[in-house]
């Protein structure tokens, strides 16, 4: 693995750094972004792309809310409505929350474990391009239904969990479901690739001295999430292949007439889907764990317990899938068993919540925007968790299943939970990667608008659900007592929309501001704050030696004679660094590569080939083969 060995012969640290700078000085312009294998750039691309999809999914949500604001709404027809909520769910889960988490993994994992990059930088770029291709591919479906200006949309319309047999040809003609299934298949490839990548990175690339129990909590949650991804994705992959085989080749997997079992789809979907729920929430839990510790200026309370409960949640997520299927007639035994396991999963979740509060307890809490979002996360997640416990009570779930109560619950967890956690992360790490703080005033406004908007949108849904409003209905008639609550939800949804506009404005003005954030604006605890903002290509001039949990914090503070923590005199640490610089230095950075995007671009060809014309299949295959051989034979550090 030769690759871009910098410097002909190993020299001093200064020589090595200069060589890297010389080599990467030319990395600018669009081409450099297309061929980049730098985890930080890939992370930024993930984040920006996911945000664009977030806007798309948000607009879909607003149209849905407009349609339901009043009884007998006439904004869209039933067909359009079905497509909107399907794409809203699919987009928000697979194209927003998962990639936003991936953005944070990319940006932070190497920095937090003291590495120069991920284990497989090109695979990392590949993940991003596959994700981007799949996201565009899926949204292209809107334009394939005929004249889009007359409202003829061609998007999938069978719900984000696409229950068979509704997804089969006779019930969903056209190509919408094909777009959905192929899109998810391709996205699965992206997720699996990044899952493998981060597991290897975390296991194999920790800085010297960083044992598993010195890893920041965010890294632990990344590890658990990645394991969930690599074990859960294959199941949905097979299920999607099956539904595609039924649709495209007349197979009978879900054909009840020949003895097929449509219920199999639900099992396979939720075998994937429940771990997926934790794939969505665990990264946010990791983020808020870091934020609470930093902003309370205290170490995370009960670190090993939070770690173990995260692992326990990951393990237990495999034993609860059928709680999405209580009403399918599983029988009393299965319902009792799954009800029981579902109740149990509240225990590790509770442990986490208690430990977070204990982290804040007795701290010196800085009420900045990142902390506000983290607290908002916690408050909303508690409601989400408790409504989850209420759902796990099988008999009462018979009433709640598939109503707006469930819609409220899942948004409590995904929006109030995951998205608030992710926004907390955005405010927290924005200065690290841009060199500029997000404006605090606008940030606070963003938080309060979003928090209030969220509660105004989703708490009323609990009530409309209990008043008997099923989810996924495109319209409803007067007199059922739902009008007021739906109107309230719609108003709240627009408040959330305004808050997102505030956020966008904040990003623009903050990026333009001349004020620099400095390397460590929040008095951080983990390694990423030890390096400049934004970090140089090679991250760490010298790979750090880690001696304890929150190592960076301990380099900044020592106990004085009274047992109080005081700051180490500034500059002392750097002087130490200067002094011992005569070791052998040789920094390897991966070279840019365009093969990942070539390989990734083969997938949509293949999907289109299956859907429209088999002649496209060899085209896609050749593109991929060329890319793969180029990739395999290209000299690079991987």
């Amino acid at each position: 693995m030769a690759g871009a060995t910098i410097g002909e012969r190993p020299g001093t640290l200064r020589d090595a750094l200069r060589d890297v700078r010389d080599q990467t000085a030319g990395y600018s312009g669009i081409w450099s972004w297309i061929t980049t294998v730098d985890h930080k750039r890939i992370g930024i691309m993930y984040g920006v792309t996911a945000f664009v999809f977030f806007l798309a999914g948000g607009i879909e949500a607003l149209v849905i809310r407009l349609q339901l604001a009043t009884p007998n709404g006439g904004v869209v027809n039933a067909d359009q409505f079905n497509q909107l909520f399907t794409m809203h769910g699919t987009t928000m889960i697979f194209l927003v929350v998962m990639p936003l988490s991936a953005a944070f993994f990319n940006l932070l994992v190497p920095l937090m474990i003291g590495a120069r990059d991920v284990a497989f930088p090109r695979l990392n770029a590949f993940s991003y391009w596959v994700f981007l291709g799949a996201g565009i591919f899926m949204n292209v479906s809107f334009f394939t239904g005929g004249n889009i200006f007359q409202g003829e949309l061609g998007a999938p319309g069978a719900g984000w969990f696409g229950y068979a047999p509704l997804t089969l040809n006779q019930f969903s003609p056209g190509h919408g479901i094909d777009y959905w299934a192929f899109g998810l298949l391709i996205l699965g490839i992206a997720s699996m690739a990044s899952g493998f990548n981060f597991i290897v990175t975390i296991i194999n690339m920790r800085a010297p001295g960083m044992t598993f129990f010195r890893m920041p909590l965010f890294i632990w949650m990344t590890l658990v999430t990645s394991f969930l991804i690599i074990f859960a994705m294959p199941i949905i992959t097979v299920a999607l292949f099956q539904v595609l085989a039924d649709r495209l080749f007349g197979a009978n997997f879900f054909n009840a007439e020949l003895g097929g079992t449509p219920l199999l789809w639900q099992h396979m979907f939720w075998l994937f889907g429940h771990p997926e729920v934790y794939i969505l929430i665990l990264p946010a839990m990791g983020i808020v764990s870091e934020v609470f510790a930093t902003f309370a200026r205290k170490p995370l309370f009960g670190y090993p317990f939070v770690v173990f409960s995260g692992v326990a949640i990951g393990l237990m997520s495999w034993g609860v899938w059928a709680h999405h299927m209580y009403t399918t007639g599983l029988g009393s035994v299965a319902n009792s068993a799954f009800g029981f396991t579902t109740l149990l999963i509240a225990i590790p979740t509770g442990i986490k919540i208690f430990n977070w509060i204990a982290t804040l307890w007795g701290g010196s809490i800085s009420l900045k925007t990142p902390l506000l979002f983290a607290v908002g996360f916690l408050a909303m997640f508690v409601i989400g968790g408790l409504t989850g416990v209420m759902h796990s009570m099988v008999p009462s779930d018979y009433q709640q299943q598939d109503t707006y109560f469930v819609v409220a619950h899942l948004h409590q967890v995904l929006l109030g939970g995951a998205l608030f956690g992710l926004f907390s992360g955005v405010y927290y790490w924005f200065p690290k990667f841009t060199g500029r703080l997000l404006n605090e005033k606008w940030g606070q406004l963003h938080f309060w608008l979003m928090f209030i908007g969220f509660n105004v949108t989703f708490q009323p849904m609990m009530i409309s659900g209990m008043l008997g409003m099923p989810r996924r209905i495109s319209t409803y008639s007067e007199g059922l007592g739902w009008e007021f609550w739906n109107m309230l939800s719609t108003v709240g949804a627009f408040l959330i929309a305004v808050s997102v506009l505030v956020f966008m404005y904040n990003v623009v003005i903050s990026l333009r501001s001349k004020e620099r954030a400095g390397d460590d604006p929040w008095d951080g605890r983990t390694l990423e704050w030890a390096i400049p903002s934004p970090p140089p290509v090679y991250n760490f001039a010298e790979i750090p030696q880690v001696k304890e949990l929150d190592d960076f914090w301990h380099t900044k503070y020592v106990e004085n004679e009274q047992g109080q923590l005081v700051r180490v005199v500034a500059g002392a640490a750097e002087q130490a660094e200067e002094a011992e610089d005569d070791a052998h230095h040789d920094i390897h950075m991966p070279s840019p590569s365009y093969f990942p995007i070539i390989v990734a671009s083969g997938f949509p060809f293949i999907a289109f080939g299956f859907m429209y014309d088999f002649a496209l299949l060899p085209v896609g295959a050749v593109v991929m083969l060329v890319g793969l051989y180029g990739w395999a034979l290209e000299p690079a550090t991987e």
């Binding site: 719900g159 809490i365 008999p395 009433q399 059922l480």
Partner: protein, 248 residues
């Protein structure tokens, strides 16, 4: 923030049964729905208590321990407390086990064998309507009685056993005031039992997304006093008054 949460909760608990509405799960009219509401409350009240405690602790911590100036001393670096961890592992475990036991009892109760004199109804779901047939109520030629599409008539205070099937996609059979939902899935028959404790018209609708007409896949269950039901049955089957088929 707290005020908002509590307001939402207060509205949820107190107001709901007063909101009315034909599909209000807080106003059950059948034993099954009543039991399900009861189970809902078992989970609701502990959840409310936990919510108030946890949110209260959170808000207290954030307000009480906020940083007042940048010169505030670094707080004591507490890494954890083993006893506390054990305590808050065991406490929720106990609460959850306390919920699990009656929950499982309720599942078994609701899933028990039907009464011997229960009235059986075959329900077939299709896009986008419901067909009802009474297999035990037959006319002279043995043809079973069929109710009107989307309108099921039942006698009050008698157990009804539904055999639920679908001919196309998944649907879900749900009348909030009488019983929680059960899915109709092609290729299998699901059984459900319920009763109505008072006469009346109860509206229900399909609760599993089933395609373009999902929102309008509604139906009603009309509960009649037993004698009225028998009269209706005899009329429909063109039988002599007092025919044994329609008798209980």
């Amino acid at each position: 923030m707290a005020a908002l949460l509590l307001l939402a909760l207060a509205v949820l608990f107190v107001g709901c049964s007063a909101f009315g509405g034909d599909q209000n799960t807080f106003a059950p009219e059948g034993d099954v729905a009543k039991k399900q509401l009861e189970v809902f409350y078992w989970a609701l009240w502990p959840a409310v208590v936990v919510l108030i405690l946890v949110t209260g602790a959170l808000l207290y911590a954030v307000i009480r321990f906020r940083r007042r100036s940048d010169d505030d001393p670094i707080p004591k670096q507490v890494h954890g407390n083993f006893r506390l961890e054990i305590a808050w592992t065991i406490a929720p475990t106990i609460v959850l086990l306390a919920l699990a036991v009656p929950m499982i009892a309720a599942i078994i109760d609701l899933g028990g064998d039907p009464d011997a004199d229960a009235l059986h109804v075959n329900v077939t779901a299709q896009q986008f309507s419901w067909l009802f047939e009474y297999p035990s109520l037959t006319d002279a030629e043995g043809t079973p009685l069929r109710a009107k599409v989307d309108e099921l008539l039942i006698p009050v205070d008698r157990e009804i056993v539904v055999h639920l099937e679908s001919v196309d996609v998944n649907h879900s059979f749900w009348v909030p005031k009488l019983f929680g939902k059960l899915d109709a899935i092609p290729g299998r028959t699901n059984d459900l039992k319920f009763n109505a404790t008072s006469p009346g018209t109860f509206s229900g609708q399909c609760a599993e997304f089933c395609g373009i007409g999902h929102a309008n896949m509604k139906f009603t269950i009309i509960a009649l006093e037993e004698p009225e039901f028998q009269v209706w049955c005899e009329e429909q089957l063109a039988l002599e008054p007092g025919a044994p088929v329609c008798q209980r």
